[in-house]
Amino acid sequence: MATTSTKKPLLEVRDLKQHFPIKTGNLFNRKVGAIRAVDGISFDVYPGETLGIVGESGCGKSTTVRSIAQLHKPTSGSVIFNGIDMVKADTRTMLKARQDMQLIFQDPYASLDPRMTVRSIIAEPMVIYNNRKLLPESMTSHEMEVRVEDLMERVGLNKAFKNRYPHEFSGGQRQRIGIARALALNPKIILADEPVSALDVSIQAQILNLLTDLQKEFGLTYLFIAHDLAVIQHISTRIAVMYLGKIVEVSDSAQLYDSPKHPYTVALLSAAPIPDPKVERERKRIILTGDVPSPDKERDGCYFYDRCPKRMPWCSCHIPPMFDITDKHEVACWLYSKEDVSKISMEDAQADAAKIKAEAINKQ
């Protein structure tokens, strides 16, 4: 796997799978299949960097975040955070580790309890961890009060409003409340699931700047999710592109726009509009046909095969592994394999796939 530096990763995700069972509605509630929301993804996040995850709706971005935070127990794979295997750890160890891992969500309206005042929303993580005696040092309620006020000022909220309710704030301000709450326990990493997607352009810029400032000030690491490529490129050190529960490309953020490799990334970048009429006139769009298929079936070929303008017979029955382009850029596409597979006919490709399958069964 390509690495950015010799530093040790803060978060290591290996072959993470999150399948949701599809059940028949009848008495026996038999499992008849699975939604493969996340279907075997691996990546590292290094201290102080921002790893951006981009992809269209339903590709598994939110599920990835929820599985990492153990809000769902992953179907398989491992999540090593700060040296602790979050999947295998007992609840107390996991909760303790999660102090350093906080979340921010897209919808500031839905993610804040409407019946709680801003001060209790921001203080809640401290109260919970304090009551469970999970904090390094216990906090008095006065200390918490001071901390709430500090946090409010730091994220640009007037501390005089601490006894107000979320509905009395605008969308951007509510996102600030969410950020203050996420900072309350001094986390190492923040998992941000589309934190600016619901905001207007001018407010979006304010929140992106705030997140950048906070990262510098507190040495935070971000896992940042968005479907907007320009936002992702702006905020990220490195970018992972997801499609149908798989990561198809990982690249240095600066490189991705200049030299996207995966046919899906190329199409995605070409489809995203650029706010400049002169540039837009010159650009060539690759218009993909059809819709993203449903992630409810097991695939034994490239997940992008149905829509890929460059597909080869080989791709229909062989799942591409990650190929290194440079030490900062890897891509899951047979076009970048060292062996040329483009000339292989469908019959030969399928015969090869059948052989591999038979060997695998024999081994068991």
Binding site: G172, Q233, H234, P275, V279, D291
Partner: protein, 348 residues
């Protein structure tokens, strides 16, 4: 995109005002909006949420819920006739037939309980009562094919929920097109869609605009979409149009401080702006309830002057169809006078 020099004006909105009565006061959602769209032209309306874009479109279609809403002033001229004055039954003929509308949420115009076939045939027959069912069905299938629905002769018998979001959006466009309207109002038609699907839908709208000469009003908050689609742009803020310009001019030399800030605050993936801070307009848009006379942008404007706090700026024509409502472009004498008048009025 096809801006012909002598194209005929199809829709002219003049000093449109739409207010809502609420418990907190009068919401001046649209407060003196004017623009013109020509045959074959695509006009963009951009602005942040709540700036009055949808209310403008709904007012043109006369679909403002009343009460609490009311069109309190202005004209909407369609081919020279003020459609705010025609009877409701004449208006029904205009809707869909002459001016059609697509919304952000396709389900606002599709009935979930009826097959697509039934809905499309009904729409066509409503506007052309002489068309028989068979003809209408054939035409519907043709339209679905045009918008890129695979095997339309089968899919037309589906219910809306059997289509994905992008497909439903296309069905709505097909329905809007089936009547050959002269004007298409598209209110955030791709906001809820993914970029690859957005690209498909926008391509479709430009094709219609180019091939059929349909005038398009495209409402969006996405400056990238505007850049790629529109000939001309109106920027809305707090119920008013603060700047109008040809698209190239708007991006190359935005005149209004709000437009300039908006363009600068969008991250771009094609330029290496890696100094990591975006330009940002501080604060947030004003509440349009009981807004005093002033430039509504002044609390957020880094160029605000005394006069901006007391009087709404007049419109200034900068030439080449570029108009701006900002005191920066007004001479000292007029500013002084306006300030004097305003202070006197405030005292009285």
């Amino acid at each position: 995109m096809s801006l012909k020099p002598n194209a005929k004006a199809v829709l002219e909105v003049k000093d449109l005002k739409t207010y809502f009565k609420t418990d907190d006061g009068i919401v001046k959602a649209v407060d003196g909006v004017s623009f013109t769209v020509h045959e074959g032209e695509t006009l963009g309306i951009v602005g942040e949420s709540g700036s009055g874009k949808s209310v403008t479109n709904l007012s043109i279609m006369r679909l403002i819920p009343s009460p609490p809403g009311k069109i309190v002033g202005g004209e909407v001229l369609f081919e020279g006739e003020d459609i705010l004055k025609v009877s409701e039954s004449e208006m029904r003929d205009i809707r869909g037939d002459k001016i059609s509308m697509i919304f952000q949420d396709p389900m606002t115009s599709l009935n979930p309980f009826l097959k697509i076939s039934t809905q499309m045939i009904e729409t066509i027959r409503l506007h052309n009562p002489q068309t028989d069912k068979k003809e209408a069905l054939a035409r519907s299938i043709e339209m679905l094919k045009l918008v890129g629905i695979p095997s339309p002769e089968k899919r037309i018998y589906s219910y809306p929920h059997q289509f994905s979001g992008g497909m439903r959006q296309r069905v709505m466009i097909a329905q809007a097109l089936s009547c050959n309207a002269q004007v298409l109002l598209a209110d955030e038609p791709t906001t809820a869609l993914d970029v690859t699907i957005q690209a498909q839908i926008l391509e479709l709208i430009s094709e219609i605009n180019n091939k059929m000469g349909t005038a398009v009003i495209l409402v969006t908050h996405d400056l990238g979409v505007v850049a790629g689609m529109c000939d001309k742009v109106c920027v809305m803020y707090a119920g008013r149009i603060v700047e109008t310009a040809l698209t190239d001019d708007l991006y190359a030399k935005p005149a209004h401080p709000y437009t300039e800030g908006l363009i600068k605050s969008v991250p771009r993936m094609d330029t290496a702006n890696k100094d990591k801070r975006l330009f940002s307009i501080e604060g947030q848009p004003p509440n349009v309830i009981d807004l005093p006379p002033c430039c509504p942008f002044h609390p957020r404007c880094h160029k605000a002057m005394e006069v901006c706090k007391h009087a709404y700026p007049p419109e200034k024509d900068l030439g080449n169809q570029h108009e701006v409502a900002c005191w920066l472009y007004i001479d000292e004498e007029t500013k002084k006078q306006a300030l004097q008048d305003a202070t006197q009025q405030e005292k009285a």
